[in-house]
Amino acid sequence: MGLTIKISDIWKEYDGNPVLKDCSVSFEKSGIYVLMGHNGSGKSTFLRICSLLEEPEKGEVNYFSGQELMKKDMGLKRRITLVLPGVGIFNATVSSNMAYGLRIRGLDNKEISERVDRYLDLLGLFHKREQNALTLSSGERQRLGIARAMVIEPDILFLDEPTASVDLGNSEIIEEMILNMKKKGQPTVIITTHDVSQAHRLADSLLTLKEGRIVSYE
């Protein structure tokens, strides 16, 4: 059973400055949600809160499996993941970066290497698997971030500006990846971007944040 998200009246502030103001939204259908908004409008903060990385001052983020409200435990957290704008590459090979999420879930080595190779191949990084991941180019780095999240096979995948500072070719690879995931029906993808045409290529639903408020949802 897939997961749905219900976000109600989120309020978030940093050092007394409100960043998100009474945001409410539901992500009920699986598909691709694109979140847009100016720099500083609160998109990244919104994704961190939705993905349970941070807690809001007020309001709630609730996950449902069908009608059942999920407890926000490790079990749930391991079904969702967020690719950060800086990715957060570990000082290790591309393969061990990929394997991280699977290793901490206690999968056996055979399955780990099988899955890692499959997803590296999918994102065109297979030939780089023994390279130190910190030496990748920014486009490769973003692809690794996405591959490292996808290999977990999450129910919900949050992507924070996956194509910022990425060239056209790499952008296309990433977009194609996202559209392919959708074809297979998994996972729900929630993505931020500043690229309007990309937003239209990808979005099933388009949300706009303005100064911490959701001003449109279509």
Binding site: R48, S51, L53, M74, K77, R78, T81, L82, V83, L84, G86, V87, G88, I89, F90, N91, Y100, G101, I104, R105, N132, L134, T135, L136, S138, R148, A149, I152, S165
Partner: protein, 237 residues
């Protein structure tokens, strides 16, 4: 001048012939300093990590004290351990004074602040995005901490190597608590200090050369480790 050349000749003779006394001294040095370092690492790394991860009120003070203690004069530590272990001291009943154990204790005290403080700073210097990345990938709190420590590994190794360099080279503490007893507590630095005094230059010089070589190796390894840890800085955008 001839004495110097003469002494060098004899020193190399000792080294090349793997003189038994010489080997014993080198071995004990490495054993004492190595053990001290292992103990200092086993205690200092977790404490350094704790200081890096937890917020509590006296943290700033503890870190300042540790940083001050990094430059602790070895003779002062020697004196302190001597007072603890001497017959009238609180731990005098253990009869440890003038034993390798006493030397290990003194050197552990010397290495501990270095290992702890450098581990701490390596850990707090890990890019905060690493913590978040581990969390988003489904790490439990302890797995997150482990990921951060793992990311800091080159900095931590530098701290351990720096600690090793310091204890290998110090003479003040182990001389006071070890007493430089031939065949029992005599190590490289104490031998150099005392044999020079007696005009027995060959052994002192031979040990000096070896100590320098070890120090060179330590620094070469340190350089390599630091270079490996630098990958991030070259490429980060």
């Amino acid at each position: 001048m001839t004495t110097i050349i003469d002494s060098f000749g004899k020193a190399f003779f000792l080294i090349l012939n793997l003189d038994r006394e010489l080997l014993g001294i080198i071995f004990l040095s490495i054993k004492v300093s190595g053990t001290a370092l292992v103990v200092a690492t086993l205690t200092g790394l977790p404490i350094g990590a704790l200081l890096g991860f937890k917020k509590f009120s006296l943290k700033g003070l503890i870190i300042s004290i540790l940083n001050t203690f990094m430059g602790l004069p070895p003779v002062v530590v020697g004196l302190f351990v001597y007072l603890l272990l001497s017959r009238s001291g609180p731990l005098g009943f253990m009869g440890l004074l003038y034993s390798p154990t006493a030397m290990i204790i003194a050197q552990t005290i010397l290495a501990f602040p270095i290992v702890t403080s450098l581990s701490h700073s390596a850990i707090v210097n890990v890019d905060p995005v690493i913590r978040q990345a581990a969390m988003t990938l489904g790490a439990t709190p302890s797995q997150v901490s482990f990921a951060i420590v793992s990311e800091a590994r080159y900095g931590i190794m530098s701290g351990i190597i720096a600690g090793f360099g310091r204890v290998m080279a110090e003479v003040g503490a182990i001389l006071i608590v070890g007493g430089n007893i031939a065949g029992y507590t005599r190590v490289m630095t104490t031998t150099i200090a005392l044999e020079t005094d007696k005009g027995n230059f060959e052994l002192a010089l031979a040990l000096g050369i070896i100590l320098l070589t070890i120090s060179l190796i330590i620094n070469a390894v340190l350089h390599l480790v630091q270079k490996k840890g630098m990958v991030r800085k070259n490429r980060w955008v």
